[in-house]
Subunit: 272 residues, 2 copies
């Protein structure tokens, strides 16, 4: 590790966990918080600065002034509209380089990673800091996928990877061979709610979450947590398959306990 | 044409239009209506029989008894649950042959076409009977896609074809480069309603409908009509792109008039 860890914080609880993990291993943290994106609780008791998403020159200056050597991008970001973005000169330069890749999440984030590296920062993945988060292969709870569920998982992998290749979405729900829904920008919670209303069979239904085949592994990995398990159980589906080694499970013990209590499976799968 | 035209009728108004077109060219029609699928109005004043979807032996017998030589599958079918299907021996035989392809719409329908051909029926596409329905290239109304819309159409084509290759969906909505939603089994109306709530830009947004690259061209072509134009306009999107030569426009004159009245474009595009 080199110098302070700069946490470029999106929403949700993960950025605060990254700060705590850095401190636990003896590294100071600096949070770069983004207006309208970062949970205000994330910056409490941590050195930080608030910036606008489009103010890239200021963001780099803040990181440098704080003595940040390596950075970690973590937590979901709501993509701004063109009007909201109001990019400064440095962001304009970056956008020109990113070009059409701007429109896919992976293309945009890979471009941001390249800009950070060009400024001399080392970019680390959340799994480098919070190694325990990375999904492992196999069952997280007592329940295991049935042979029908396994077939649904295989179909889901093929569908999500096809979508991923055109840089759209990281999830699909498959029920007894039929693809009920595929994710674009609506997010996994909305996907689950929608597919709950489209269910047709009394049993089955699997949420499959996979990283994109070409995905920059240090940013925006598919993530599940207890809330995902609850949503899948409420919807009446059989379980969740996530990509081992390329997705995150927040609090694996709680996820396993929730899956046991609800009677659903959570399965880490290795994509070929 | 050989003998009577057997119309295997899904829902909506298209089956009745096919019957009328057959009669207009001097061919008698026989409607095979499916319980829970066919609009009861479709069979009024036409020789017909009602059958259950899973009763394939009876369906073939009815077509043969009516002297049907060629058949046309037309109108959307709600896919039955496994419990609803209750296949007879002939349907079981067909399902065994169709195998895993059952789970994609195109795989299932291609299998049904092969079964019909194996029984000696000639399968014609709706565009063979109702030639005027097939989408043509170019603008259907005064409004034309802007350069930004054209970029969205190109992105939509890439996304829908990627999905189509894994036999899921025929539509996506793209707004200024960002894919707001992709269609699985929810249908285009639900896709439009969902994406209306996900809009982020004051302008733009294109519905792109494409046949699947490998699609059996005689069944289940993407279809739009006046109602689609109204839904897109209500949602505040800029227009619709459909695949020329491989999709259907019901009542092109009314579609053009509605698009003019609403200020949206309807554009027939040729996919490379």
């Amino acid at each position: 590790m080199s110098g302070k860890l700069g946490v470029l914080a999106g929403g949700g609880p993960l950025p605060a966990l990254v700060v705590a993990a850095a401190r636990a291993r003896g590294q100071d943290a600096f949070v770069l918080a983004f207006e309208g994106q970062t949970d205000p609780g994330t910056v409490m008791g941590v050195e930080h600065a608030w910036v606008r998403l489009g103010h890239m020159a200021e963001a780099f200056a803040r990181l440098r002034a704080a003595g940040v050597g390596e950075v970690c991008l973590i937590g979901p970001m709501r993509r701004p509209t063109v009007a909201e973005l109001r990019p400064d000169w440095r962001a304009m330069q970056a956008l020109a380089r990113i070009g059409k890749q701007y429109f896919g999440d992976d293309g945009l984030l890979s471009g941001v990673v390249r800009e950070l590296e060009g400024e001399g920062f080392r970019v680390v993945g959340v799994h480098d800091v919070l190694t325990a988060l990375l999904a492992r292969a196999g069952n997280y709870a007592r329940h295991a996928p049935s042979p029908e569920d396994e077939a649904d998982i295989a179909r889901g992998i093929a569908v999500v990877q096809a979508l991923g290749r055109v840089d759209v979405g990281q999830a699909a729900i498959v029920e007894r061979g039929v693809v009920l829904g595929v994710e674009a920008i609506e997010g996994t919670d909305a996907l689950i709610a929608r597919c709950a209303a489209l269910r047709r069979e009394p049993q089955g239904g699997v949420l499959v979450k996979m990283a994109k085949p070409q995905q920059e592994r240090r940013v925006d990995l598919p993530t599940i947590g207890m809330r995902t398990v609850d949503a899948i159980a409420e919807a009446g589906f059989a379980g969740i398959a996530i990509e081992a080694g390329r997705s995150l499970v927040v609090d694996a013990a709680a996820v396993g306990a929730a899956a046991d209590a609800r009677g659903v499976f959570v399965f880490g799968v290795s994509a070929a």
